[in-house]
Structures are given as structure tokens and as C-alpha cells.
């Protein structure tokens, strides 16, 4: 069922409001649950919004040796992340503009965001920036092929790499969508998510320890508005990755009709699912210590094993699409 153009427009804007507006809150929930698990109180839930507001009000300071790359990188990185939002079905199917790209485009956009941030980190010539970007690109080189493999694992039963098509199959199959290949693909995606978004065994966003920091080392040169964009982008990327996992792994609840009541119910469901998934990620984070940098390859190898195993089970045992 296709909807009228104004309805599609409202849903399109709604997706952005949902993800952009909610991502600082989700980050706060994550920090709060982690703090509680470790016996601390944790910052209030509105703290990320206050931090962003404070940073947006401040001017950016640039190093004398910085070129235009440093000035434009935060905006390009953020814009690349913004462009991924319509590729994911959040609460309605077919999602507005959902067919303008598939998940391979999404991987490319995330790579662009990663590349431009890493490039800018080396621009001003600070030692930490170079160190951070080397590590980030190394992890990216490990994560991106695995990401594609995981997408194929999710997509091969549906015969498509478009998130909308995969989610539509899940919604129409109902509970029968849950299968061994799906389980393996979910495990692979969760391992990948930790690497891709720099969560705990890989990178610790709460410290600025010279020896271990990755993302923090890259944004060290930034201040004011630019830092606000980069920090917002970080939470935003986590929300995108988790939103994609929800759409691929548990699409039940996404509305397939355009009636107002059903769509608003679907919005409520997706908010609950996002909150729940963030709580799960923070429980996962609270249970592990930071790993040695080179063990990242262990994690991505395991993700390859799960994704490939999922494909094997899809085609040989499950009979395929």
C-alpha cells in the first residue's frame, strides 16, 4: 500500500526527529545503566542534551596548521550519517525513500564518515590524532568486509540487500522468521556492532588514556560546534547500528499500513525496542574489560565465522530463499 506524498513526507521527517532527537537520550540511558551496574549513580538522563547545547553555543578553535579538511570534516561526517537514516525501516513499511539505496550503500556511507574523521585527525599533525586514525582505519579495514558478509547473511533468505525487503519478509512471516541462520547472523552483527561503534572491549569512550584511546584521540583537536557534531554523530551512529539490527533481527511491530493509529503504535514499539537494545548493549559493556588492541581481530574473525555459518545453514540446511 503506498501512501500520499504528504504522509510520506511527514514519516520521512518523523524518522529524522526520532533518531536525531532520541540518540543523546539513548546514549544517556546506556551510560546510566552501566553506572548502575557498577554501583555508581551516573549522570542525569538529560546530560548529553546539556553537553550538546553547551558545545553548540561555543566557537570552534582551529590549529594554525589545520587546512580546510579540519573545518569541513565534522559536517561531512555527520551528513554521511544523516544519509543512512532513510535506508533503515524504522516504523513504517515501505519506508519513505527506503528504496533509494541498499545496505551496501549504508556500509559505504559509514566508511565515508569514518574516512573523513580519520583524515581530519591527521590534518593538524598532532601525534595522538595520527595514532587514533591509524587504529580506526585498521579496525575499519577489519570491520567493513565482515559488515558486508553479515548483510549477505541477513539478506540471502530474502534474496535482497535492501533493509526494507528483509524487514518486510520478517513482518510477513511473523514468528516463523526466527531460524538458526537468523540467530547466527544476529550474533555476528552484535560482535560487529561493538567494533563498528567502538563500544567497550574495543574502545572506551569514558577515558582519555593515551595508550588505548581510538575515537577520543581522533577528535582531540576539535572544540565547540565541531566537537558537538562529532559527539552527536557518535551517539547517532550507535542508534543507526542498533536500529538496523532491530529492523533486520526483530522487525515485528513495524507498521505495514499507513493509518495514523497503527503508525503511532509502531513508533512507540520502536522506541521501546531501541531503549531495550541500548540497555542490553550497556549490560554487555559492563561485563567486560577493555581488550588489547590486536584482539579486535579475534572478535572480527568470530563474526566472520558466525556470518559465514549463517550463510551455510541458509543455503544447505534451510534450503535457501
Amino acid at each position: 500500500m503506498t501512501a500520499s506524498v504528504p504522509a510520506q513526507l511527514v514519516a520521512f521527517v518523523g524518522e529524522y526527529l526520532l533518531v536525531l532527537g532520541l540518540s543523546p537520550l539513548l546514549l544517556a540511558v546506556l551510560g546510566r545503566v552501566k553506572a548502575r551496574t557498577q554501583g555508581r549513580v551516573g549522570p542525569p538522563l538529560l546530560q548529553p542534551y546539556r553537553d550538546l547545547w553547551k558545545l553548540i553555543g561555543k566557537d570552534a578553535v582551529y590549529s594554525k596548521s589545520a587546512s580546510w579538511v579540519t573545518r569541513y570534516a565534522p559536517a561531512i561526517s555527520f551528513a554521511a550519517l544523516l544519509a543512512t537514516v532513510p535506508l533503515i525501516p524504522w516504523f513504517v513499511l515501505p519506508s519513505p525513500l527506503g528504496t533509494f539505496g541498499d545496505l551496501i550503500v549504508l556500509v559505504g556511507l559509514l566508511a565515508l564518515s569514518r574516512f573523513i574523521t580519520a583524515l581530519a585527525a591527521t590534518d593538524a599533525g598532532s601525534t595522538f590524532g595520527g595514532m587514533g586514525s591509524t587504529r580506526e582505519m585498521w579496525m575499519g579495514a577489519l570491520a567493513e568486509p565482515v559488515f558486508l558478509l553479515v548483510i549477505f547473511a541477513f539478506g540471502s533468505p530474502a534474496g535482497s540487500t535492501q533493509a526494507g525487503a528483509i524487514a518486510a519478509r520478517g513482518v510477513s512471516l511473523g514468528i516463523a522468521y526466527a531460524s538458526p541462520p537468523l540467530l547466527l547472523a544476529i550474533v555476528a552483527y552484535v560482535l560487529l556492532l561493538l567494533v563498528e561503534t567502538g563500544r567497550l572491549p574495543i574502545d572506551n569512550s569514558a577515558t582519555h588514556l593515551e595508550l588505548t584511546m581510538v575515537h577520543e584521540a581522533m577528535v582531540l583537536e576539535y572544540s565547540g560546534r565541531d566537537l558537538a557534531l562529532l559527539e552527536w554523530g557518535r551517539g547517532f551512529k550507535l542508534a543507526i547500528m542498533i536500529g538496523l539490527l532491530i529492523a533486520l533481527a526483530a522487525p515485528w511491530g513495524i507498521s505495514t499500513s499507513w493509518t495514523l493509529a497503527l503508525v503511532s503504535l509502531a513508533v512507540g514499539i520502536v522506541v521501546i525496542k531501541l531503549l531495550g537494545a541500548h540497555v542490553l548493549v550497556s549490560r554487555l559493556e559492563a561485563g567486560v574489560a577493555k581488550w588489547r588492541l590486536f584482539r579486535v581481530a579475534d572478535l572480527t574473525t568470530l563474526a566472520v565465522v558466525f556470518a559465514f555459518g549463517s550463510l551455510a545453514l541458509t543455503y544447505v540446511v534451510g534450503g535457501g530463499a
Binding site: 514468528i175 516463523a176 526466527a178 531460524s179 538458526p180 540467530l183 547466527l184 550474533v187 584482539r295 581481530a297 579475534d298 574473525t301 568470530l302 566472520v304 565465522v305 558466525f306 559465514f308 555459518g309 551455510a312 545453514l313 544447505v316 540446511v317 534451510g318
Partner: protein
Amino acid sequence: MIVLAVQALDISAAIVLVTAWISLIHRRIEALVDTYAIQSGALGITAGLVAYQYQAPDIYVLAGLTIVVNAIVLPWLLRRVVRNLGVSRMVNMYASVRASALAGLAILLVSVWVVGGITPFAEVPSAGLLPISVAVLLIGFFLLITRRKAITQVVGLLVMNNGIFLAGIALTYGLGLFVELGLAANLLVLAIVARIFLERMKESFDHVDADALRALEG
């Protein structure tokens, strides 16, 4: 309802496979034992679903026995051994973590390729579990031959046993209650013997590294 049970059966069998793979990357013995406990729990649930599907009361007994013995008693015994031995709690291995994980994948592909071609079982509804159970069996075997400490080799043997049990309930709806009871009793005896053996080994050689047993003392 039956379709749902078959689906739940497939998924719990997949959990057994997932835990077998995860056991390949552990570097601490306690984590390995915990994963084994989760695997046995998933196996017990699988057995319970098979029992439900075929309405077979003796498999219910086996499912309960698997959960009690394999998921609770054996891990508890193994944890006690690890704690009391006072040796390093790291898993020493011949193959690196990455090589082990990739070997686990290769094992699945080989067992899918080899076992998937066996047609006589094709009409059994749960025949899809056979490649998974053979993979779990071989992963247990891989753990057995690539881990150096005697206690991790015991865990490898137990994972192998889980694979055999899964194949048994998938194809014959249980190997027969008495055979399984005998197997479970054997396992318990094995764990106790392994414990005594390990403690003796620690007393005599001050380590539990099976590799070093090849060298002559004195």
C-alpha cells in the same frame, strides 16, 4: 503447534552450535566451563522439545538429567577442580584463537557437506540437526586435541559427548533410556576420575600440562 516446536528445536540446536564456537575463543578456563554449562542447558531444552514433539516420556527424563548432570553438577565439579588446583587459569593452546575460530567454521562446512548428503535420514523431521550435531562433536574433538591442559581436554570430551547426544535425540528420538542413563553415569564417573587424576598430577609434577608428560622426570 508442531511447526512451532520444530522451529524452537532448530533454534535451541543452533544455540548449542553457537556455544561450541564460543568455547573455541576462551582464554580462561572458568569461562570455558561456563560456556559448557550454557551449552548443556540449551541441549537439555532441545531434548525437552524433542520429547514434546514425539510425546516420549523417557526423553523428558533424559532432558531433566542433561540439565541436572551436564549443566549443573559437572560444571560445578570442574570449577571446584580449577579453584583447588591452584594452577594458572589460562587455557594453553596449540592453535591461536583466530585459527581455532576459523577451524570451527571449516568444521561446520565440512559436516554440512558430508552429512547433508546422507539421504536415509531425510524423512525424519529433525534431520536438519544432524550436520549441527556432527559439527559440535568435531569441535569438541578439536578442543580435545589443541588444548594443552588436562582439564581443558576434559571439557573437549564433554563437548564431544554433547554432540553425540544431540545426534542421538535428533535421529532416533533418544538412544534408549538405559543407554543414555549409562552414558550419563559414565560421564559423572569420568569427571570424578579426571578430578582425582588431575589432583595426583598436580601433586607429582606441579602442573597439569598434558604436553609436558612426554618428557621424562629426573
